[in-house]
Subunit: 351 residues, 2 copies
């Protein structure tokens, strides 16, 4: 484990990306990845730098995002990312949703033919910062089966909501995948040995398994019929409705030599269309207090609001540095060197 | 068990309600309750007739819904149901959301100070019938604890989405509670005896239990941290944002002698703002086929889309009659008689 300063880490990653893509896009992608590490979502963090660049070198992600507008109404829009960078297209799309909502009350903006966009809450929090309730979804390649099926036609399609609580206060942020577990937990179980619960995954032949190695060759199980249903709705909003590839048509991120043409969906609701912001913030404060001041069950120290633990981790890591595994740090170093960007020139604080 | 014709059942229930409330409102409430029975959600069906009327007689639901408009923008509105009938206020609100979406692309409409609104998918399907994607949520009285807490500040706050697939085709309908189980399943386990899984409920002292009797005195557990987070978001959208009572402030439906002042939230997205309806329907057909034609896991006969099983049950019961338990049928008979409406004059087909 190493701890590095998050600002230095971000600058380094930006510099690495900027050797191949416009600086503005490099900076957005880098900020999104470092934010994931800060919140503790390491599977969506800077470990993606090498993966993204490999896909770019293979011609599967464009070096410059040519974002075009397919269709627009007063409260909706559909962007075509034309196989550019997911984060860059998504920031533009969420900004459009926020601006439309602030003008007209509510808005939904889709993105088609895009790539991996990082963590979903990155975009919903943009809306919360502007006094809106943010909604975001994305589809992903098929690692998960629908409830009752042995064929993977779903990603772990996440959905996020963010709600502002007031100036300087931690927003309420839900960012959930629709799977029963993260693939990363199975990878970990496979490394350290031992069994996994039998509702996490199936083998490639469609049988429930407690063997992490067989689970990794197979597919994830959804969070029951409800998680499966939500994943299908997320796929419809993100991709059927926007013109992206959907369901089992989506190529896999690592194995398939084709652009993924993913779809994302962003919503914003202007709070002042419903009540004055100060009234809403007062009500939200009470809503938060009802939860966090409630008596915890046995085995819990206290009760948290959605997103609270992640924001705590972020505050801590902003101060003390972001924790990265040695493997990821070494991979970043190699990747940087490959593009003529030396990590030691950027990362000064390292514990 | 008895089987009765659904149209006759609806007319009877309408007539019973219409002895006390306007015919138009009686008809909407009755249609909503019978629809729940048709789909197989008997806990939200005509078993509610007596409960609703008792609350009305106790002065906890107004005899006429005085729906007023608190606030309106191009794409949003907030209605105050002034303690009237949840179903009636909600049909008006969803119609407003649909009309606004068809004009401007998307819309969200809230209802405050309302009562139990029946099944959530009733409203999202209204949107799907008009070529929109429908969204609906409601809060409810505190029967469920947030993740890690022993204090019930959440209902099993449901969320529903409905997506049209084409003229005459079964829409995709997700209608899910955010709890780990329905309270009805615990009631059933208590009747027939036996244990319940230890992740369904806690005792009133906050301990996990497998004893259904103790579970019924206690509180439901959410569907893990994700279900808990979703329930909180549903409470925020339905009630914090609309001015309704939220969280632990909501009085309980049966025990507390106060109006519940619930909140509901309805959204509509006009599909043609994103792509022509015929293109969307073609894509949806493929999306449905990917799922229903996929190979089932062991233990499953086939794979279903969300809402498909319920619509199948509805088609069957429309033909063969709605199944009601003898207890519910007798209760309906007594309730009708109390209001001078004799069930035998309405229900001719009964098996």
């Amino acid at each position: 484990m190493v701890k590095v300063d998050s600002k230095e880490l971000r600058k380094f990653c930006t510099e690495v990306f900027a050797q191949s893509i416009p600086y503005e896009e490099a900076d957005v992608v880098s900020d999104n990845l470092v934010e994931a590490d800060l919140l503790g979502f390491h599977s969506h963090g800077v470990c993606k730098v090498a993966d993204y660049l490999k896909r770019m070198e293979d011609g599967l992600i464009e070096r410059k995002t040519d974002l075009t507008l397919d269709k627009e109404t007063l409260t909706t829009a559909v962007y075509n990312a034309n196989n550019g960078w997911g984060q860059y297209a998504s920031v533009k799309a969420m900004n459009t949703a926020i601006n439309k909502a602030l003008k007209s009350g509510s808005s939904f903006v889709g993105v088609r033919d895009s790539n991996h966009f990082g963590i979903t809450s990155y975009y919903t929090k943009m809306a919360a910062e502007k006094g809106c309730i943010g909604i975001a979804t994305t589809n992903a390649s098929g690692l998960m089966v629908p409830f009752g099926s042995k064929e993977p036609s779903l990603g772990t399609n996440p959905i996020s909501f963010a709600v502002p609580v007031g100036e300087g206060k931690t927003p309420v942020v839900l960012d959930m995948s629709t799977g029963n577990t993260a693939r990363g937990k199975i990878t970990l179980a496979n490394k350290i040995g031992g069994e996994i619960p039998d509702d996490w995954a199936i083998t490639k032949d469609g049988e429930r398994t407690t063997d992490p190695a067989k689970a990794l060759e197979g597919y994830l199980l959804p969070m029951g019929p409800k998680g499966s249903g939500l994943a299908i709705i997320v796929d419809i909003l993100s991709s059927v409705l926007t013109g992206a590839l959907f369901g089992s048509n989506v190529p896999r991120m690592y194995e398939d030599p084709e652009p993924q043409r993913l779809g994302h969906f962003f919503g914003a609701i202007d709070i002042t269309s419903f009540m004055p912001l100060e009234d809403f913030y007062k009500r939200m404060e009470e809503r938060v207090e009802q939860t966090v001041n409630s008596e915890p069950m046995e085995g819990f120290e206290r009760v948290y609001m959605p997103g609270e633990l992640e924001e705590e981790k972020k505050r801590k890591q902003l101060k003390e540095g972001v924790q990265l595994s040695n493997e990821i740090y070494e991979e970043l170093k190699r990747t940087g060197h490959q593009y003529g960007v030396e990590i030691d020139e950027f990362i000064k604080m390292k514990v």
